[in-house]
Every structure is written in structure tokens, then in C-alpha cells.
Symmetry: C2
Subunit: 193 residues, 2 copies
């Protein structure tokens, strides 16, 4: 009686490793940890991902693709730039509600210890986010739903950094309400009085 619920082993590995990476970091979990939780051996793991770096690469790519899809959805459904920003902050809130750190935020901390390809993928994730934010901020300035008081680049850096950092600190005591309040305060500074 396999307990995989019809889910391919490759996906079960990704799910388990993803959670471990978001909780403990890249240097804080091992093939042994993942294999044990799945009830398979390390050798079986190496069949699906021949190295830990390759597994890490697949994790970033899946995470980034999901995030991109969420940004696309916001572009289609949010009525204005201010609503897009709220939706963006809610993406972070969802992750935090699962008691997890942003996968790429975690990798950002460990950046200097990562294999080069992973470094490039992490950087690309944040470049994508920054570009999207910059576009939203420019749109908000143009349509009047936002008031920037700074260059779109700088404000985008503030929003992205602010959300990642609030996540990082909130995870120490799990006070999600405080994260939510801090994020609101951050974004309220961008809404016309």
C-alpha cells in the first residue's frame, strides 16, 4: 500500500524538500532528511535529482514559476495599481501563514554558499519581482492611485525588502498579525492622503 496518493515521487520529493528549504535553509537539510521523511533511500533520491544543486535548481524554478503566475493573475484581476500592491503583499502573507520563509529570501541569506547556477536563479527571481513592482508603481503614479515620493526603483526596493525582512523577523515569534500591520503601514505610505 503506497501512501503516495497517486502523486509522482518526483513531485513528492519537491514538495518535501521545498518545505525543508523554506524552514531550515539550503545548508540546513540533507538528502537523508528528505529520504527519511518520504520513506525511501538517498540513492532513490539521486535517481530523480542527480545532485543536491540540481534539486535546488528545480525548487527555485518551480517556486519562481508559481510566483510569476500569481503576478500574472494580479495583473488580470486587480482593478488598479494600489490593489495590485495589496495582492502582492498577500502573497507574502500566505507563505507566512504556513510558517514558512520565502524560498528565495532564505536562499538570499545563504547566497554566498550557493553553487553559481543557484545564485543566478535567485538573482533572477528578485529581478523579476523588482521589475513587476516598478511597473505597478509607474502605473499607480500615472493613474493617480499611488503617490511615490521617490523613484520607482527605490520604492520597489523598499517594498520588496520591507516584505522580505518583515517575513524574516516575524517567523521568530509567528506574530502574523504584526506582519500584516507592518505591511499595511508600508503600503499605506504609498496611498494618496
Amino acid at each position: 500500500m503506497s501512501e503516495d496518493g497517486g502523486v509522482p515521487t518526483r513531485v513528492r520529493i519537491l514538495d518535501t524538500a521545498e518545505r525543508m528549504l523554506q524552514v531550515r535553509g539550503y545548508n540546513g537539510f540533507s538528502y537523508g532528511d528528505v529520504a527519511e521523511e518520504l520513506g525511501i533511500t538517498r540513492a532513490a533520491l539521486h535517481y530523480h535529482f542527480k545532485s543536491k544543486a540540481e534539486l535546488g535548481q528545480a525548487l527555485i524554478e518551480r517556486y519562481a514559476a508559481r510566483f510569476s503566475a500569481a503576478l500574472d493573475a494580479l495583473d488580470e484581476t486587480a482593478p488598479d495599481a494600489a490593489a495590485k500592491l495589496r495582492g502582492y503583499a498577500d502573497l507574502y502573507l500566505d507563505v507566512l501563514r504556513h510558517d514558512l520563509m520565502c524560498l528565495c529570501g532564505m536562499l538570499a541569506a545563504e547566497y554566498r554558499t550557493l553553487p553559481e547556477p543557484l545564485q543566478a536563479s535567485v538573482s533572477a527571481f528578485f529581478d523579476t519581482n523588482t521589475s513587476w513592482l516598478r511597473g505597478v508603481l509607474e502605473q499607480g503614479g500615472a493613474e493617480g492611485s499611488l503617490r511615490l515620493l521617490g523613484s520607482p526603483d527605490d520604492v520597489a526596493a523598499m517594498v520588496l525588502g520591507g516584505l522580505e525582512g518583515a517575513m524574516l523577523i516575524t517567523r521568530l515569534d509567528g506574530d502574523v498579525a504584526r506582519f500584516s500591520a507592518a505591511a499595511d503601514r508600508l503600503l499605506n505610505g504609498l496611498v494618496p492622503a
Copy 2:
């Protein structure tokens, strides 16, 4: 000819390990790394700090003490709450200029993998910072040098998280000017128009 410049080995160990911790994280450096850089053996290291956890504890305590002293200095020299906040952001800027992450911000990412005593010390560091910030924000509200638009607790969380997060992301590409601009934008939102 010892190259210690009169600096006790214990301090040289702390200095080297501190830098490695701020660059690579607690799980990203080893006794072997530190010993090699200092030209001593791992066994000698164990004489000064009998376990890695004890070394980590000493690192947090020294870092927290330094930070506290810097906050005391700000309390004595800054003319008003707004100036204290600028000085606070400059503390982060100084760390970033050395291409380092905040030691406790790094440990916050790895929090779930840390020995319990280290977790407690990291939490205490952020509690101290949050308390100080709350005091400054309340002072600023009272004297009129700041306009909060939110509870001191929530604004303190926003400032602390914003600075830690901006640091985390900035370290990917080393764009210190962007950090500085984002921090300015963050604090400018607290200055009366």
C-alpha cells in the same frame, strides 16, 4: 614570529568567525574554516570555545553588546527622534558597506536549525531593537519630529523589517546606493510634510 599583532587568540577567533557567520551563515562555516584561516588546529579552537554553539553564543553576545552601545550613543548625541532614526539606519549601512549581513538577521533565517540558547539570544536581540525603536517613535510623536500613521509597535516592526530585508536583498548585487535610497524612502514616510 606570530602574526597576531598582540590580539588574544580568543578575540582573533571571534573576529574571524563573526565575519564568516555574517557572510555564510551559521550552517555555512565550520571549525575547520576558522582554524585554517587563523593557522591553528581545530583542537586549539575547541580549547577556547568548547563547542560551536558556545562560539555562536559568544558571537551573538558581543554583537548585541556593540549594537546596544551604538543605540546608547545615539540616545546621547542625536538632537531628536528623527535624527535617532537616521542614525539607526546608518548602523545598518555601515554593516552593508563591509559587504556583510546583520549577524542576527542571518541567524533569523537559520533560526529553526539553531540550538535553543542561540534562538533565545537572537530573539532577545530583536526585542531590544524593537523596544528601542518603539521608544524613539513615541518620542518623535510627542515632540512632533515624527508622524507615525500607525501604532509605534507596528511602525517599529516596519522599520526593523524594512532595514533587515533591504540588507538581505542588497547583498545579492552589492548596490549600497539603492539600499540607502530605499532606507531614506522608508524613513521619509515618517517625517512630517
